[in-house]
Symmetry: C2
Subunit: 236 residues, 2 copies
């Protein structure tokens, strides 16, 4: 909950919105923001509540959740380190934001953050660019959810998670089997892909039996045959 005084040492200094600011400008932000750690399962923002905070995600993974009146739940987006969190200019929050893993945030009051945006055109432009990119991602997901089979969804999801896991720290050779931990449970994967937990489990088993992936235990996944997985992601 302490004020930030270490922006220049920040893990995401070069990737987050703040990368548009000079060191001296950062000191202004310091007085506004504070670090906060939340634990797995904790909710940062509830849908419908007044939208009073914005943040940069420093570490961990968050989910954006839409809930239907009758209790069905759908994850409409995931947030990764360096992603921007919250809705400037919004009266109330559209979605509930909850931590999937322990996470660390750099939080600003929304109104103060909006004033910073007004004074820093570069930062506002960067946010616009990110928002446009997020819109593209969301629309791509619309196409996937509407038209892909369960098999395609799972294969595509695994490829996506794999590329994210290897984004930091490349692997030795492009063709070597690659192992990583999923940050999501089967149930959460189901919520992301618009499937049920049983279907997710069955598709994973199918890929395992086909020798395309291995499931060494826990949340770990090994991709043994990336090419075949890509084919699965595109198969009608």
């Amino acid at each position: 909950m302490a004020h930030i005084d270490i922006c220049t040492d920040c893990a995401i200094r070069d990737q987050a919105l703040c990368s548009s600011l000079s060191d001296s400008e950062l000191t202004t932000l310091n007085t506004l923001g504070r670090r906060r750690t939340i634990t797995r399962g904790q909710t940062l923002i509830w849908a419908g509540d007044e939208s009073i905070i914005c943040a940069n995600l420093l570490s961990g993974v968050l989910k954006l959740v839409a809930a239907t009146p009758d209790g069905r739940e759908q994850i409409v987006g995931l947030l990764y380190p360096a992603d921007f969190v919250g809705q400037p200019y919004a009266g109330q929050a559209d979605f509930t934001i909850t931590a999937l893993t322990d996470a660390e945030l750099c939080i600003f009051p929304r109104d103060a953050f909006e004033r910073v945006l007004e004074d820093h055109a570069r930062m506002e432009r960067l946010l616009l660019q990110r928002t446009l990119a997020a819109l593209g991602v969301a629309r791509t997901r619309i196409a996937s959810l509407a038209r892909q089979s369960a098999q395609e969804k799972i294969a595509g999801f695994l490829l996506d998670m794999a590329s994210r896991a290897t984004a930091s720290g490349c692997r030795a050779t492009p063709d070597a089997p690659m192992t990583f931990d999923l940050p999501l449970t089967r149930g959460q994967i189901a919520d992301v892909l618009g499937l049920t937990i049983e279907t997710v489990s069955r598709q994973m088993t199918r890929l395992k039996i086909a020798g395309i992936i291995a499931l060494p235990g826990g949340r770990a996944v090994t991709i043994s045959d990336e090419r075949a997985l890509q084919d699965s992601a595109e198969a009608a």
Copy 2:
């Protein structure tokens, strides 16, 4: 194809991005933009092409289409009058944009438009706000596509189209039956909702038989029992 010299008379002067500009600032835009009319079915931008234009939509309806390698098609968004068209800061277009009805646009070269944004912070902020709103809409659609039944999708779609049709020109009484023309064919509705044309047709028939809507012919729809339609949109 003429340069615009009638912004101050523009039908969407108060709703589009330009509403952030003074009359004198508009004259600058005049020199950059030009009006263009496209006919139903014509494509304005192809996915993958270099993203070279931005525009304001003056009249008509456009579709944003994602196509999978194997030919399946999904409409990932619809654009209505006063909506902003195109992707500033994008290298190449993510989606194909095609006219569903005859449409009128006010077109700017992308690079010139970006320079205008840089000089007009109010306009850039307005675009940011719109993009954030569009992101919320897209994410809401993710939830719908993933979790709603065909019945819910159709009912929700009809309510949405109804509210759009009545947005301009309110109706007499809130409870009176309301009739309007759908700007989309059954096939296009299917592409929006991630269904097949047959399922769309069957659901419409079902609603008709239930006395909730009437189909007077052509593209026309009458909502006889809005309350029941809302129930259909929320039923599990």
